[in-house]
Symmetry: C2
Subunit: 164 residues, 2 copies
DNA sequence: TTACCTTTTCAGCGAGGACTGAACTCGATC
DNA sequence: GATCGAGTTCAGTCCTCGCTGAAAAGGTAA
């Protein structure tokens, strides 16, 4: 049986991929197929796959693969490598870009700081109505301030050293 | 004009509420009406409102208000106070519970650690396919480990002292 | 019990979006 | 130019889900 027919080595892997996809749908708002591609590319062997192989492996239409692979490339977690000749392009996961993905996700949360600030300006920061809003604003402000430090720590301490 | 007819003090406020709602929809996956309720309760004066008042102020059906107010109560950011007699219940925002809301949101992200761990077990952590997965896993592991410290810092340093 | 007000429930509507499949575009080879 | 495979686009389908409005349920007072 040619390799590209292999859908997943074992049923457990197929289940795991579905769980990953479900997680990304819930926590990142990603389409299911995008999550499946990501999970599959994380553990498939060999690590690079053509669009046609993804389509077969995940039982998704070529159109869906195209759309979602481009979404994942836009997010930076999948890259395309082309080769000379008429060969199909190969896609691979860019596992090192993962922290950036999460960072962007969190920035969408801390981004609320700007809106709460605008609200406070609107009420001149005075009175009871501003009190509630200020409480929330101060939290987002603090959180937004912590983030740069957090990612700096990842770069310095968290990120595992190169293995060889 | 009776107070409950007032929809918003100014057009700007109505716009601000819509922006807040849009933000919650994007970043928390919350229905628009839930976000509107939250934003309105943050800045309305007086701070407590009945369901009927919310319905009027936000031009939403009683059914939607009921559903979404209960969602917000489940999340802990809105509370209900009942009074004796036939009076309607009053809803208010619990601005101090906001950090918990965000914490839960982030836990959904770090929750991926369990899935990556399961994946590594599945491949015995060996070989090339495990390498990519381990890279991602180590990031989530590190991030999940940082969170408790982060929230402890909020409790100790970030959280503004009581004002009086 | 009856009346009345508040809140919940739920069937149905409509919008949005994921997904498909086929047509089309693009590039490369011959 | 002609051909062929890969990739993209897009009209259409299906399904989910937010939302409504009306009916039902709950709860209080007379």
């Amino acid at each position: 049986m040619p390799e590209y027919v292999q859908r997943t080595d074992r049923p457990a892997m197929s289940e795991w991929i579905e769980q990953m996809a479900a997680h990304f749908e819930a926590s990142e708002g990603m389409p299911l197929i995008a999550g499946r591609i990501l999970a599959f590319l994380l553990v498939c062997d060999p690590p690079e796959r053509t669009a046609a192989e993804l389509s077969l492996a995940l039982a998704a239409s070529t159109g869906s693969i195209s759309t979602n692979v481009r979404l994942l490339m836009r997010l930076g977690v999948v890259s395309k490598t082309t080769r000379q000749g008429r060969e199909a392009a190969l896609y691979r996961v860019e596992e090192d870009r993962w922290p950036e993905l999460v960072r962007h996700r969190m920035q969408r949360v801390t981004g609320l700081e700007e809106l709460t600030a605008a609200g406070l300006r609107m009420f001149s920061g005075q009175g009871e109505r501003a009190r509630r809003l200020r409480t929330v604003h101060e939290f987002y402000q603090w959180l937004a301030g912590e983030m740069p430090e957090l990612w700096r720590r990842w770069e310095r301490e968290g990120k595992p050293k190169l293995r060889f």
